[in-house]
Amino acid sequence: MANKIIFNVIQVIVVMAFAPLIKGILNRLKENIQSKRGPSIFQPYRDIWKLFHKDEVVSEHSSWIFRLTPFVVFITPIFVSLLIPVLTDYPLFFAFMGDMLGGGFILALGGFFATLAAIDTGNPYGPMGASRTRMVGFLAEPVFMVVFFTVSFIAGSTIPYIVQKYWVTPLANFFEPSHILMLLAFLLLILAETGRIPVDSPTGHFELAMIDESKGLEYSGRGAALMKWGGAMKFVVLCCIFLNVLVTPWGLAHGVKLWEVLLAVPLILAKIIAFVLVLVVIESSLAKLRLFRITEFLGAAFATSVAAMITFLLLM
């Protein structure tokens, strides 16, 4: 029992500690593919350190929401990382708190507060970005729902650990056609939720075109640091859900010994870095979509998820 609590804590520490590293690797790989040298992979750590030591400037027109949001955005991924399989393939101490739907709602809570805070300050670019973020979010909801329903229907449960086991034993289950189609739909969804090309440009500085970046525009000092860190952690958490539950449900610790759990850490990092590589290739080969084409993009994701569901129903 005490082991499980310790493992849970280790899980959270792994997510917190390595999130900026993953972000740094992503940025550097993107620059490398474009034949540039790119920043150091530890740059996000230095950015967060620098921001923590700066003064915070807060608009006098903002309310308590603006001050609370960085904490919400920082804590929600931590909560979710308690629930999902990151290092072990059996549920840990706090895993009873929520299943996949619960995790999805908690992440959405963070996004909700970020949107509200963007409107809070009175900066004209904030609400613009906030409305676009909500549009993307609302269009992505049906896809989330259909994917979760199908996955739960197939595996017989909404708890990620049980779903993950379903694909592993027997091995033939991994090749379920609906599984592969769902991978595709979920990949499109991740591109939309984490604000990557082709939905949004994460390195753009043009406020009129920002979707996801606009939530962090007004923050400074400690608030900015927490927003950055929270954003990186959300990305890592989504990757963990995608990789550990759907794509590569192997490589997680099976036993209860400490060394097994510690061995799983480099494995999960390797998996995430491999996924980051795929993501970088996708990002570098596509162009950003015009705003109204995003509906078509998410419509395609919806059609894919429905095709997955239909294929499963047909085989039943």
Partner: protein
Amino acid sequence: MNGQDLLLSVLPKLNALAGGIFLLTAFGLVAIRQMLTCLRIYVFQSLLLAVSAIILGYHNASIHLYLVAALTIAFKSMLIPWLLRHTVGYENYAKREISQVVNIPTSLLIAVAIAIFSYCIASPLLVAAGAGVFEKINLPVGMASLLLGAYTVTVRREAVPQVLGILAMENGAFFAGVSIASNLPLIAELAAAFDVLIIALVMGLLAMKIHQAIGKTAVGEMIALREE
């Protein structure tokens, strides 16, 4: 579980995967904006048809289906795209936007509804026939592709996507056919393959004539004869 058994147990899943992606390509014909991509999606769809035919041929140990797969690849993946590219003219394929009657997200929703509708029609048939695991995928997906092809023809305003819609309808009928009518006489299969070829040839030539007469192939805008 030796290799043979593993292969036999994986075959239905592979076929189902081919069917699922086939359904996706049928959705793609409705939703894609660029003409050349539509053509490539059609080629991909025909390849999936050939894959399903090969899987079923292996399962039924029937050379007949392998021949069907070979015919499909030769005619639909190679000859027909070549025909369409060369009769209609290259400048039409450089188009990046195809005009439609209904916008794309709504089209996708209607396409999803059509797919579910064809599933509902096919279920009583499958139950009544005591269908095997291959027919369970091929029949509904084929019917869905048939109806989606018809929908594509009604919704697109350009000549080439309409041709591709009709060819997709034939693809859907054959996709269902390889599982339910797998031992049709070879004469019929050959004649049907040539028939699809002639469809593409005739429609391509007609589209070329239309292009010569009015300068573009937007057949949805030709409404001179409507009086009612």
